[in-house]
Symmetry: C2
Amino acid sequence: MLPILHLNGYKIANPTVLARIPRPELRALLEGYGHHVYEVEGDDPAAVHQQLAATLDQVVQEIDEIRQTARKPGGAARPRWPAIVLRTPKGWTGPKEVDGLPVEGTFRAHQVPLAEVRTNPAHLRQLDSWMRSYHPEELFDERGALVEELAALSPKSYRRMSANPHTNGGLLLRDLSLPDFRDYAVEVPKPGTTSSEATRVLGKFLRDIIGRNPETFRLFGPDETASNRLDAVFEATNRTFTGEILPTDDHLAADGRVMEVLSEHLCQGWLEGYLLTGRHGLFNCYEAFIHIVDSMFNQHAKWLKVTHGVPWRRPIASLNYLLSSHVWRQDNNGFSHQDPGFIDHVVNKKAEVIRVYLPPDANCLLSVADHCLRSRDYVNVIVAGKQLALNYLSVGEAIVHCTRGCGIWEWASDDQDKEPDVVMACCGDIPTLETLAAVDLIRQHLPDVTVRVINVVDLMRLQPSSEHPHGMSDSEFDALFTVSRPVVFAYHGYPALIHRLTYRRTNHANLHVRGYKEEGTTTTPFDMVMLNDLDRFHLVMDVIDRVPGLASGAGHVRQQMSDRRLLARAYTRATGEDDPEISGWTWPY
Amino acid sequence: MLPILHLNGYKIANPTVLARIPRPELRALLEGYGHHVYEVEGDDPAAVHQQLAATLDQVVQEIDEIRQTARKPGGAARPRWPAIVLRTPKGWTGPKEVDGLPVEGTFRAHQVPLAEVRTNPAHLRQLDSWMRSYHPEELFDERGALVEELAALSPKSYRRMSANPHTNGGLLLRDLSLPDFRDYAVEVPKPGTTSSEATRVLGKFLRDIIGRNPETFRLFGPDETASNRLDAVFEATNRTFTGEILPTDDHLAADGRVMEVLSEHLCQGWLEGYLLTGRHGLFNCYEAFIHIVDSMFNQHAKWLKVTHGVPWRRPIASLNYLLSSHVWRQDNNGFSHQDPGFIDHVVNKKAEVIRVYLPPDANCLLSVADHCLRSRDYVNVIVAGKQLALNYLSVGEAIVHCTRGCGIWEWASDDQDKEPDVVMACCGDIPTLETLAAVDLIRQHLPDVTVRVINVVDLMRLQPSSEHPHGMSDSEFDALFTVSRPVVFAYHGYPALIHRLTYRRTNHANLHVRGYKEEGTTTTPFDMVMLNDLDRFHLVMDVIDRVPGLASGAGHVRQQMSDRRLLARAYTRATGEDDPEISGWTWPY
């Protein structure tokens, strides 16, 4: 909370704008951000050090007073944090001149000032006198050890910067106190007949997690907590806000546990810092805009990978993303808000730190979220819709299904005693809906075709076990997806990812994937799936095109499916809405 | 250049911090950024409009004076641009209260204030009186047309905002005047024996492009123009800088054509604006950090895709990325600087707007750059190293090879009269080097094994022609990669991408890809390729493992290759450098 701007770059060649801002403007800028500004400046190192030390003493006292005030009831107002501006010449106390050219105070001090020490005796001599200018004889004894007086300045034990437990957050980490997620489950007496808003169901679970862990759990997100339908959390807490709070404000408080700001960068950075210092959190975001933090995610994933090889680093809580308001339901926002590619980005990172879940309904989302919040040292990506959507599994079934990660839905399949004619696989809530509606159409129009329905929650299950710890063995994959039957796979994101994960599988040549192919606009939900050929009618056409021997006999059905796409589109153009027969479909068996 | 902050959100529920900054602090903040601040505020619309109009007149005059001054010799100093702060209540002139709750001036004005107009007669009446409060009878005539007096206020012709040619930049676009890139080529008397820094060669071409197009071409980059070895451009121009310029500064000027700032976001935004208004540019960036603009790239690619369907939109210059300082040569920076995944991200967007090139040497980079700078309406990604690297092709050969995009290198192959035992494919400068060194080892140690070497410059050639306009037909692909021989493919980035692009090809089951598998650290170039099993010795082992019948007979050679990896690593640990026999390897035939 104590920024020190060290403007030692004020003469470098690169347009480092900050360092060139005239003094009054820089002061105005910092004061504009609410800082109390101290300036320290000079050419004489001893004088500057003394001035800086005195300023630091003053500033530490000021911070302490702010903290004391904040801890009093009603005292947590927005403080004017102190800021120190320290101006010194660039390359300060280094060589003033090398080979006749000025170095100190110029851009030449930005890299190695004496580059030819090994070959140029003049450079070597200059290095020698530069190093001697720091008086090593006063700093070290004859054996080269730091003199006792200086060594004693270093703080002891955990007050050493490197031993501060907050730099090894796993030391401070305590398990979350989690309520039983089954208590939040929706009743599912029969699959595919009742509806829930999955994230709203999750919101109640999160509310009680916040209530039970008031100091170790925070929810992060760019202004979308309510929009993503997690607003039950406001029954237990508020949005963090340290500015002036007005009577007309809605759930703002200095001690709020919801960190909401319309900057994905800030949300990600806050959450990383919170996790690295031993706490827990969840970042909820519109799916398309999580790409804003691609580069930050990269560095966190790289950090996790590297720390796995550092034995003294203790595991930290996983970085959990909840991506809602996803590609298929941007009815009002359109093409700019449609991008399911974060999953592809994540999958490039090391398998041991990456997990991706696409729960098909509310109870599955609960089960997945509970699992992710208990996990350590991963990046978990959960993609789940916020709109009313069918419930398929009771909570007991959801637990089994999510633990397995991928499995046959018996109740939707009719291949119990034999190999099916076609495997209908699905991953993601909307693809699951369209797949089941397609299965219904197949039962009606092509009753002789036997179908196996497979739902994938844990995307990494599709990979070979040699590539990812969650990967299925080939024999398990073959048993599920068969070795020779056509597989029509409806996937939430870009279809290529499914091929990338499965290209080594026996039956890959028969795998046909539908997903988002970058076609979108502001339109109805069903029109969106039609634009990308992911709709129930097209899936039936895909089955007809791929099940051997079906094509000619099913010509009438195929044409009917094609016509129903045209009628469905015409309906949207006439009414601005989807045909209720489509949007209101439920599983009829 | 005229920011108007319209603070109508000062009472919304979300922590919109800006709107709550106390007036003096906001003024200080804007003044800190060098603005001359005007404040306009009030509750009475007529008074505020009048005040705003007067302020705008004043401000436009001020801007005009700044411009006049800037056009005088030596006048282009950093100006104090005017900024207007306009404060009005949120939901201003809308309903003050709905259903007994305050709306105007509160967060309730953020969305639809009267949500039940269709069903609630009170809401409908309120909507009616709200709309009438704007006096439509004074604005429209009996037929509903705008009254003449108001219609006459609209500017004429291209001064209408929608008809301004800068909003349809293709109207203003002129071809670049490009020098003949062949004049910048390096001599290649024999493949793989001389070395160049590819981007340094390109820099001279860019220098002369800037010289010939002083008003329509800019180079953008985050502080890396010199680091990426494009510094020849500073013979023709400077870095843009409008602040105070000091005598010790290096190539800063207000009219410089190199836009350099350590913010990839700014570089991307500037370039997009420059292209959309009819100019040309190139963005050079460290490969790993281009992910910072993933989300901005998405929106530009979506824009291009959508505008292809808008007949009156004229084509604009392509958005060209030059990614240098790439994953394989981060000797000093290490793991944090290693990420070749931007290509994967780009490939998710619509095929018709996406092009990806990995020129293997300096002359190929020239040819590719020339092609990209002439293109329209694409996003071109070029990946090229900056370090000294072998030259393989004369400029004439490079033109043919890059135009073809993918082809057999006859001089490196020895399968002229028959199907080869193995295809060694490569894409990217470092993979090409390792592949050719592996071919040399095979010739020495396994002289009976015939090898076909294929180099890929245009990555999209690998896709089926149905998926990308550059895609090869299946018959062409089969002729190159065979239908049954093992293919060892050395690729610059994540191996999965090659599988994703080729999974439909006949010979895909025999395709074995090496690339970056997220293993890296601060180490020597050859150790980096060894960490990822992309090195020449491992490629030979891959050939031994995959060519039928070779395994047992080549056991000695395989062990030797494995030993040479160990020796190479030991050499780096002992000396901090690569064995010169490896780093100095050239093509010996």
